[in-house]
Symmetry: C2
Subunit: 400 residues, 2 copies
């Protein structure tokens, strides 16, 4: 299959590209290096060093014998977006190319507008490019479980049958997203569903949980194939961050009571899920949603898991002021059977996995920037960029 | 009350500003004249001549003795958006300043991206401006009944109680919008609800039906106070268009079977609803939704009403190829009691109202551009702007 991976230089895009290439598909990657730019802005870096894209691709060719095409550009540029679809002629597009951090989207007005413009308009350009060049292209789009929020009823996979005043319909599951980033994914979902309806596009929206892990079968073949590992307060996902906090002697910081429960999955399962979606494409005109996670944990449970497995001393610290606006205790039960039905065999979050993560964190402990770990973005504040910028302390603003 | 009317030069914004000024409020209007620009682009014009904003405002001062402040600029410019809130210091903002035509948003990629960028990012800038300058400002935002689509269950006012697998929650009503314009309003609604939740803003989302009518108590005081009257295939609302078709001897064109049922209201009721929302503001942190319409009609029923009232011959023509993707027969029952509970006394769609509309259309019959009436935008097509532009025929593309 000819598959274009958008955001193919990123945390999940790069290992996905390798997996698909390893399995014999013709793979192209598209990236504008926005993710590496956020590092520069925030003054942080991936804990695991990552090679530049051209070097990664050369090394992959040496290791696997397979070529990966690369297209450098921005999906919000409609000419670039259209021409990359026209030139590569994909049968499927895997779309990871969005700003993916909730805290980053909440820094200030400019970051909120950037996130929604980048994500929603890039995706809209992509929908038009597919519709105009080849509506049979299967779009596999990364959404997030965060689109649903934490309703007091079971979360279903995209749609829910509602009986109301004696009548019944199957309708989109109501969304209660918790950041301008999560909102951008909700906007995308609505736009994609509409494009499938009017143009007969085929799309799979993968509402992904929080991903942990770093090494995959393919990235493990050579250090220059490694994918990034983020632990900072803005881009770090929670389990990765706990492991870095453990090995660097920092308490595991839990916002509030830590009862916030989220769907989680291993990075290797992300790759498996994307591949399963590609191998079982949506039908013409079909917009389908898979909830892409394997287990649910509360933040406190995850901290406790890491503390139990870590061989040294490791303290859990409850940070009283939750920087986010979210329920710290709530009901959470989300369906996630569609990918299992397609054959997913999950990697569960057990001791060997956490040990593996701790080993990665231990190996690069010298690269940890302690200032980067704590949360700096406050949901309740709207301050303009300069004084409250999470990556930069200004001399006159020590009190922020 | 100090009230800023965004989009205050438009079809509804201008008469709303006059009504509020007449009732003793301090009114400012904000506009970037985008609506007049669409006329230039499409090669059409309001059937009723409208005066430039400065002249309208001068005439209003002569007629009423009241001043209206005017700010010219674009809400997508964050500096302008913020400074207009800072300078005028409103207690309430009525937000009409969005691209409001579904067909316009469906012309091509550029118009879809423009519509969503203009509407969503302008509104996002506004939310930040309110949060940063004065979170107690009451935002009265114009949404649309089209956000809901046509589900097979009763439509409620913004939220629905769902019992599912033995548990119950009140959740946002699921949305199934039918154009990139309607989608932009859904995106806005989600962004506003979130801003109320995290920053404690107070907002009323008026999910408005299709408006008909042209004259209000205040615009009727002088011809230079008139508001626009659109009948063209892109911006004309359906009942206004039928009246123009009737007086110009054109058949009343109904897409498909004409069973498409929509909530409708008189322009005078729009003004009354906005004023009722302003006088009974949302509480701190409250995001509330009012369904703002008074009666439901199918497109065919409206055509029949006009045909019955029109004194001459008047034929109804079913256009076989519906340019839109929509159900032509469907269930439709939408709640709309909240504004009635606040005291709305509707103007119903009866013979005198239709006669009034026909009189307006008759008076300006010489200004009708017959080429502008037929639908030119096809939902199923994605063609790029130049050859399919609805306002411009290119010599080599007579077959579009």
């Amino acid at each position: 299959m000819r598959i274009l991976v958008l955001g193919g230089d990123g945390y999940l895009g790069w290992p996905t590209a390798l997996r698909l290439s390893w399995h014999g598909h013709d793979v192209g990657v598209v990236d504008n290096f926005a993710r590496r730019g956020y590092d520069l802005e925030m003054g942080v870096d991936s804990l695991v060093p990552i090679a530049p894209l051209p070097r990664r691709i050369r090394r992959w060719r040496e290791v696997s014998g397979s070529a990966i095409d690369a297209f450098v550009g921005d999906l919000t540029d409609p000419v670039f977006c259209s021409s990359v679809i026209e030139r590569f002629e994909p049968e499927a597009v895997v779309h990871f190319a969005e700003q993916r951090s909730a805290p980053y989207s909440m820094i200030d007005r400019a970051h909120a507008v950037y996130t929604q413009t980048n994500n929603v308009m890039g995706n809209l350009n992509l929908l038009y490019a597919i519709a105009e060049h080849d509506p049979s292209i299967h779009l596999v789009k990364l959404g997030t479980m965060g689109e649903y929020g934490t309703p007091n009823i079971d979360i279903e996979e995209g749609f829910i049958e509602i009986t109301h005043k004696g009548r019944t319909d199957v309708l989109p599951f109501p969304k209660q997203p918790g950041s301008f980033y999560h909102l951008s994914k909700v906007h995308d979902s609505h736009n994609i569903a509409f494009a499938c309806r009017i143009w007969g596009l085929r799309a799979t929206d993968l509402n992904q949980g929080v991903v942990y892990g770093q090494e995959t079968d393919e990235t493990g073949l050579d250090p220059e194939l490694a994918t990034r590992f983020d632990y900072d307060g803005v881009f770090g996902t929670v389990l990765n961050r706990f492991c870095v906090q453990a090995v660097s002697g920092h308490p595991l910081t839990v916002y509030g009571k830590g009862g916030q429960t989220r769907g989680m999955l291993d990075i290797r399962d992300t790759l498996a899920c994307v591949e399963l979606a590609l191998l079982h494409p949506a039908a013409e005109g079909e917009y389908r949603v898979f909830n892409q996670f394997t287990e649910s944990f509360s933040v406190l449970e995850m901290a406790q898991l890491v503390a139990e497995v870590y061989p040294g001393t490791c303290r859990i610290e409850h940070v009283a002021d939750n920087p986010r606006v979210e329920k710290e205790e709530h009901y959470y039960n989300a369906a996630h059977s569609k990918l299992l039905d397609l054959g997913l065999v999950p990697h569960l979050l057990e001791e060997p996995t956490i040990k593996g993560l701790l080993t990665v964190a231990e190996r690069y402990r010298d690269r940890v920037e302690p200032h980067a770990i704590s949360p700096t973005v406050q949901w309740r504040r709207t301050a303009s960029a300069l004084p409250s910028h999470p990556g930069v302390e200004l001399a006159e603003h020590h009190d922020r």
